[in-house]
Amino acid sequence: MAPPAASARYPSPSQPSGKSEVTDLKSQLRQLAGSRAPGVDDSKRDLFKKVISYMTIGIDVSSVFGEMVMCSATSDIVLKKMCYLYVGNYAKGNPDLSLLTINFLQRDCKDEDPMIRGLALRSLCSLRVPNLVEYLLGPLGSGLKDNNSYVRTIAVTGVLKLYHISASTCIDAEFPATLKSLMLHDSDAQVVANCLAALQEIWSLEASHSEEACREKESLLSKPLIYYFLNRIKEFNEWAQCLILELAVKYVPSDSNDIFDIMNLLEDRLQHANGAVVLATVKVFLQLTLSMTDVHQQVYERIKSPLLTLVSSGSPEQSYAILSHLHLLVVRAPFIFASDYKHFYCQYNEPSYVKKLKLEMLTAIANESNTYEIVTELCEYAANVDIEIARESIRAVGKIALQQYDVNAIVDRLLQFLEMEKDYVTAETLVLVKDLLRKHPQWSHDCISVVGGISSKNIQEPKAKAALIWMLGEYAQDMSDAPYILENLIENWEEEHSAEVRLHLLTAAMKCFFKRAPETQKALGIALAAGIADFHQDVHDRALFYYRVLQHDVHVAERVVSPPQQAVSAFADTQSSEIKDRIFDEFNSLSVIYQKPSYMFTDKEHRGPFEFSDEIGNIPITPETSSDIVPAQQYEANDKDLLLSTDEKDDNKGLSSNNGSAYTAPYENSNISSQMQELAISGPATSATTTQSSFDFDDLLGLGLTAAPAPTPSPPLLKLNPRASLDPRAFQQKWRQLPISLTQEFSVNPQGIAALTVPQSLIKHMQSHSIHCIASGGQAPNFKFFFFAQKEAEPSDYLTECIINSSSAKAQIKVKADEQSTSQAFATVFETALSKFGMP
């Protein structure tokens, strides 16, 4: 039975065919409901299949709910399953109707066939209708005591489902205690495994507000329990083994004997056919031995082979997951795969995501013994058809050059790339040669002679152009025609679109001037003039700065712009070691794939399912405003604050580990403070309350300037006029006249983002909150909306521009208001309305 043809695929009210078919089905089902004729089950099967196939392709068949339930009286198990499936799908949307199903499901829970008992119980627990919870308790209780293990496995998961519908009902019925005793005494492995999964979830969610749950959670990690599981691990299926291994990771061994006992018990798991089990075992081994350095090293030796097997077997997606983990390991212990580098050679047909990771691996494991072979191989890829991979491999060669002491051979290779005469190869190579020279100035002689031969006309990419210009300035004395090349470039100032390139041109012209003044003077003059006239702020500022320094004293200028060369000893690492450790702790999870710890991409689980999308760098809501909203939101704001501050800490660390940042730091500070003053002056004049001398970080971002001052009572909850109207022209005029009174950014929940695929739905949604849309546009990922709203009872308008970026899940709003003092209150209303978007 195939689903109906494409015409019925997208149901809409204007498509009567889908509707009439549903009515058709309805009457057919009704006819069959009472019939006891032979063969009636076969015709029921066909009808049920039709219903389910409509359901699958998204046609709403909830209208036949009653008929389906009437037909459910059957002994045919396939029919029953289809009926359960149907009921499970529509019960949530029709809580009243689902009451009808309770009766027959409860009856089936007492059927003599364990299969039917199990299926009925599963469907009953999957209805997910809160007010039917009371009907669950009885069947669940007897399900847990059922003498058939199939029913018990389902009942155990049922308890977890119940917990998610109504935690208190589940706890009050003391189901967790029952699960615990089942876990310890049941003879069936799957029942035990499901108990473990359910208890872990329940207790870690409960632990935040119950000390007892906290203790129970701890008790899962007690020594007897861990050994109880590990000794029996072979009785469990592969997925349950993963669960147990994941539990064992959290166990804190009492002494080294304990550690060796566990490793001996688990050693053979490394030979399991299921890669997930192997990886979970690897995690246990690594975590257990963290404190024992020499054993830890031996562990690396032991896990190497199984991991390499996993890379080359299985689908590319699986290889990808494993390679991400290897990359994490290799960064911690580069030696482990040093002799196995050939495993990371790319195959021609591999998808690029695998190739990219392999390139990263090759870069990470390169050392004195294998560099030659690795670089030779990487050079092969530079001629790859896939340009992105070709670029990556050149970058890889460059990275190896930067981490090695013996760069001789590599420099030759890099220079050979320049002779390949492919735009993107040349571009990538130039950037690398620049970095290489910054670290090893002694190679300048070899490099410069080749770089000097490159025609700047062939280089289009800004980064490469900037690199070339940097070298022209830095090594002007070694390149005979450097001033003339620069002059040429400066003459085409107008055509240069990249500000980065123009900045580099200015600096290079200066440097060149100090070395070869007579030849460069003219070009420098043109450059400074063009720079000062430049529309880009940074270019303008730098040109002006150079001009003034030169005016002040040429020698000082030389000391500032072109000090004696200093080799960079190490480039800043992009990730702090603290973060890397956190990722390592979360081995065998998404963290490794994303290369960031889980707090950066998921939220803590106890925050409930609908609030997990805020990211770091969210601007915190100012305390005055958040304190008078709902406590839950305040909690969220605090949490954001926490995240932000850790992020800042990380940033600072990055800075201080970076060479030479010591002197830039104070400069940046002063810059910020001057900007703050400017902001303070240019802030809206109406806010006379901003005279408080202490500016906090928010002020810099233009936040809170118009917020109500602390002593005034909290603003009353804003009421909006649901039937407000404003014609577009008036809107435009007002938008031009009013100053921006508030800018705010906040995150949008994923449901909202998903629902945004139809932007009209947002407009409708906001309208239901009395915020009306006047214009909208944009495409994924950026959507732009103009909204307006009116205060109830008085003609005071709020105009809002709202930009939603669906890939970062952020919304940015600019509010202009007649009454600026209430714009913060309006923004709160707006945010609350938006946060409900996409919720069922």
Binding site: R9, K49, I52, T56, G58, I77, M82, P114, M115, R128, N148, S149, T157, Q190, N194, E235, E238, C242, E246, D268, Q271, H272, A273, N274, G275, A280, T309, S313, G314, S315, E317, Q318, Y320, I322, K342, Q347, Y348, N349, P351, S352, Y353, V385, E421, E586, N588, L590, F601, T602, P609, F610, P750, Q751, I753, A754, A755, T757, A780, P781, S807, A809
Partner: protein, 438 residues
């Protein structure tokens, strides 16, 4: 939490939902739209099999013309997720009897719903072994009329064994003729430089079994691998027989193999599942016998002509032969005309993949075959980009040959009723990714 998948979707290439199952409420029903707009309709699709949108992660795989997407909202175990999808697809295949694609899903959607219910509950993987599930998911998949697998009669009320300790075999099986089939299937991966140096070479092998045995038999398998032989000679306290021993880099076994016994005695002993299964997998990097050598010479004569000469030598035993040999020799995009001679087989120019495809149906051992071709190119003005030469790729199958040299020394079957069994052992070596740069 190993997976705790919130939902699983099966989509066709256009992004229509073929089947979906939501296990948890923490993701909205419209997640699939997000996947469509942010992944399928962008070039992100081929870039990475794990993506994050909002707070949810999408772990997805393409299998034939179907995308299988797992949605998770927590920090899930990715390796487990992918493995789950692979296993689930294997399970579906064993039900439909062969292909897994859009049509198969459409034709069996009720069955798939049933299976999805059983293999995962509230996001936790449950039992995925086909042997057990087939006992109680009784609705036979609609098999295509061309596959002729024996239909098994379901054992009524099988739930008692569903979750038992020997999860992979049910009791009370009985066959008139007790047979065991064992295939060693190896694939050779090779990367050779244009100068004929082996850059990378390894063999991944599988031992596949098909058992039609009554009762609860105990099997023991002996191979000529180094560790096993050494252990044996040590236990019998006599020197190992001379002869080739194979060093396996890494071995993994089906869950039926008693790993404790393997670690102590180095023998592979097991109670097999009924029917087909993969007993073990191994990997070898040392001492690989390459079945073919390829010697290419490609000369670019000026801007519009090329000369290609490829010699293929078979280096396995003279009594053996390879089947289905295909050599794909890349040529530039702007190829206008090709002219070639081959000493055996047939060749033709396939412009859609920019290759000369040379096929030899049967290639005896210890022989060689040559292709020589002249290629004329369309002259292009101004395009001075040189041609990036992709590697030559080869496909083949060599029956009765193992690139690793691995051999079965014995396969013993023991069952308490003491019946006789017939054992069949086959070897075959296939090309994995067999690439020669030129």
């Amino acid at each position: 939490m190993p997976v705790a998948a919130s939902a699983i979707y099966f989509l066709n290439l256009r992004g229509d939902v073929l089947i979906n199952r939501t296990y948890r409420d923490d993701v909205g029903g419209n997640m699939v739209d997000a996947f469509r707009t942010h992944i399928m309709q962008t070039k992100e699709l081929g870039n990475c099999p794990v993506r994050q949108i909002g707070g949810c992660s999408f772990v997805y795989m393409r299998i034939s013309n179907v995308y299988i997407v797992i949605v998770v909202s927590s920090n899930a175990n990715v390796a487990c997720g992918f493995k789950f999808v692979v296993e689930a697809v294997a399970l579906f295949k064993s039900y439909f009897g062969g292909a897994f694609d859009e049509d198969a899903i459409k034709n069996n959607f009720v069955l798939i719903y049933e299976l999805l219910d059983e293999i995962m509950d509230f996001g936790y993987p449950q039992n995925l072994s086909p042997e057990i599930l087939k006992l109680y998911i009784t609705q036979e998949g609609v098999r295509s009329p061309f596959s002729s697998k024996p239909k098994e009669k379901p054992v009524p009320n099988a739930t008692l064994q569903v979750t038992g300790a020997v999860g992979w075999r049910r009791e009370g099986l009985s066959y008139k003729k007790n047979e065991v089939f064992l295939d060693i299937v190896e694939s050779v991966n090779l990367l050779m430089s244009s100068k004929g140096n082996v850059l990378r070479c390894d063999v991944t092998g599988k031992v596949l079994m098909k058992c039609f045995l009554s009762g609860m038999p105990d099997l023991k398998l002996g191979l000529n691998d180094k560790i096993g032989l050494e252990k044996e000679s040590e236990m019998k306290s006599r020197p190992a027989k001379s002869g080739k021993t194979i060093e396996l880099d890494d071995v993994t076994f089906h869950q039926c193999v008693n790993l404790t016994r393997f670690n102590s005695e180095k023998t592979v002993s097991f109670v097999p599942p009924d029917g087909e299964f993969e007993l073990m997998k191994y990997r070898i990097t040392e001492g690989v016998n390459l079945p073919f050598r390829v010697l290419p010479t490609i000369k670019e004569l000026g801007r519009t002509r090329m000369e290609v000469n490829v010699k293929v030598k078979s280096v396995f035993g003279a009594k053996m032969f390879a089947l289905g040999v295909v050599v794909k020799i890349p040529v530039p995009k702007q190829t206008a005309k090709t002219n070639f001679q081959v000493t055996s087989g047939r060749a033709k120019y396939n412009p859609s993949i920019d290759c000369l495809v040379w096929k030899i149906r049967k290639f005896p051992g210890q022989t060689e075959s040559t292709l020589s071709a002249e290629i004329e190119l369309i002259s292009t003005m101004g395009e001075k980009k040189s041609w990036t030469r992709p590697p030559i790729q080869m496909e083949f199958q060599v029956p009765m040959f193992t690139a690793s040299g691995l051999r079965v020394r014995f396969l013993k079957v023991w069952e308490k009723s003491g019946y006789n069994t017939v054992e069949w052992v086959r070897y075959i070596t296939k090309a994995g990714s067999y690439e020669i740069r030129c």
